[in-house]
Every structure is written in structure tokens, then in C-alpha cells.
């Protein structure tokens, strides 16, 4: 029961975070929302694994956690790189 409630809550949370992702207003807000959704998806998968009685899905959750981190960091890095090269452009 608690599992189902958790799943539903997580789904609601993802939906709400999507609003923030669309609304922005800055790139960083979007990245924040993306990160939020990423970690929530990890949790959802873990919970769903238990819900369906297939806990071996956790591998996927692990990968998600990794990829999510790498892509958030990577995206940040690229935002920075883009900005730096623009600044050089101006100077």
C-alpha cells in the first residue's frame, strides 16, 4: 500500500516539476527541474521494481542515477563553456 502511495506521489511530483521545467525562466531552473525529475525517476523505478515483484530492475535505477548525474553535470559544463566562449567573443 505504501508502495502504491509512494509511486503516485512520485508521479505527481514529476508532473509538478515539469511545470517548472517548462516555465523556466532561466536555464538553471530547467536544469534543476531536470535533475529533480531524474532522481524521482530513479526512485520510481526502484519502487516499481518492488511493486511488480521484479527487484532485479534495480540495475536500471542505478544506471539512471549515474546517467542523470553525468548529464546534469555535462549540461552545466556546456552551458558554462558556451558562456565563456561568448564572453571572449565580446571582449
Amino acid at each position: 500500500m505504501a508502495l502504491i502511495i509512494t509511486t503516485i506521489t512520485l508521479l505527481v511530483v514529476i508532473a509538478l516539476a515539469l511545470i517548472r521545467a517548462f516555465a523556466g525562466p532561466t536555464v538553471f531552473d530547467r536544469i534543476l527541474a531536470g535533475n529533480l525529475i531524474g532522481t524521482k525517476v530513479v526512485l520510481i523505478i526502484a519502487v516499481m521494481g518492488f511493486l511488480f515483484g521484479r527487484p532485479d530492475f534495480l540495475d536500471v535505477a542505478l544506471t539512471y542515477a549515474l546517467i542523470n548525474f553525468i548529464s546534469v553535470i555535462g549540461v552545466l559544463r556546456f552551458v558554462e563553456i558556451t558562456r565563456r566562449s561568448r564572453e571572449e567573443d565580446k571582449s
Binding site: 511488480f52 515483484g53 521484479r54 532485479d56 530492475f57
Partner: protein, 115 residues
């Protein structure tokens, strides 16, 4: 009866959004994003077709009788790889186009070369 197909219709809606972005947007990068959405929706379409009610993931476990259809999964694995390959190639083309034309807007490029 109608609700049985609801899942497919959502996929179709998504597919058409992607398709629309591809043909209507002038920005080359956005076109590629549209193409990606288009492709992903086709993937979802396949995967939906592979789902069996009450079935579980096609990895053998004790006690499970009904599995979802593994074949669409295999096909889509291949298709995802194909998709990312296309995306990578398309993006590098865009980079070269930008380097040569100074723009990634379709209209600007067409104006420059009268293609």
C-alpha cells in the same frame, strides 16, 4: 473498446507533434529535435504493441507464467541505436553548415544560395 486503443492514440499525437516540428520549423537544430520526438514515439508505439496485460518483463523468473513480447523490445533496441547514430550525424552536419553559412536558419541558408 475505444479506450483499448487510447494508448496508441496518445502515441500518434506525440508522433504528429514531432513530425510537425520537423517540417514546419526553420531552425535546423529544432528540426533534429522534432525528428527525435518522431522516432521516439514510434519506439513507444512498438513497445506498446509488445505489452501483454498481466505479463511481466521477459526475463525468466520463477513463478511468472506470462511474459511481455520480447521481439518488439529487440527491434526497438536496434532502432534506438539507429536513431542516436542519425542524430549524431545530423548534428555534425549542422555544425558544418553553421561554419559555412554562418546560420542555422533554413530561410537564411536558402536565401544565401538560392537552392
Amino acid at each position: 473498446m475505444i479506450l483499448d486503443l487510447f494508448n496508441y492514440w496518445v502515441v500518434i499525437a506525440l508522433m504528429m507533434i514531432g513530425f510537425f516540428i520537423v517540417i514546419a520549423r526553420g531552425n535546423l537544430v529544432k528540426k533534429i529535435i522534432g525528428l527525435n520526438i518522431f522516432q521516439t514515439s514510434v519506439f513507444i508505439f512498438y513497445i506498446s504493441a509488445g505489452k501483454v496485460n498481466g505479463g511481466t518483463a521477459p526475463i525468466v523468473v520463477e513463478g511468472a507464467k506470462l511474459y511481455s513480447n520480447p521481439l518488439p523490445h529487440v527491434l526497438i533496441l536496434t532502432a534506438i541505436v539507429v536513431g542516436i547514430a542519425t542524430t549524431a550525424l545530423a548534428l555534425s552536419l549542422v555544425i558544418r553548415i553553421k561554419a559555412n553559412y554562418g546560420s542555422v536558419e533554413e530561410s537564411v541558408i536558402l536565401k544565401q544560395d538560392k537552392l
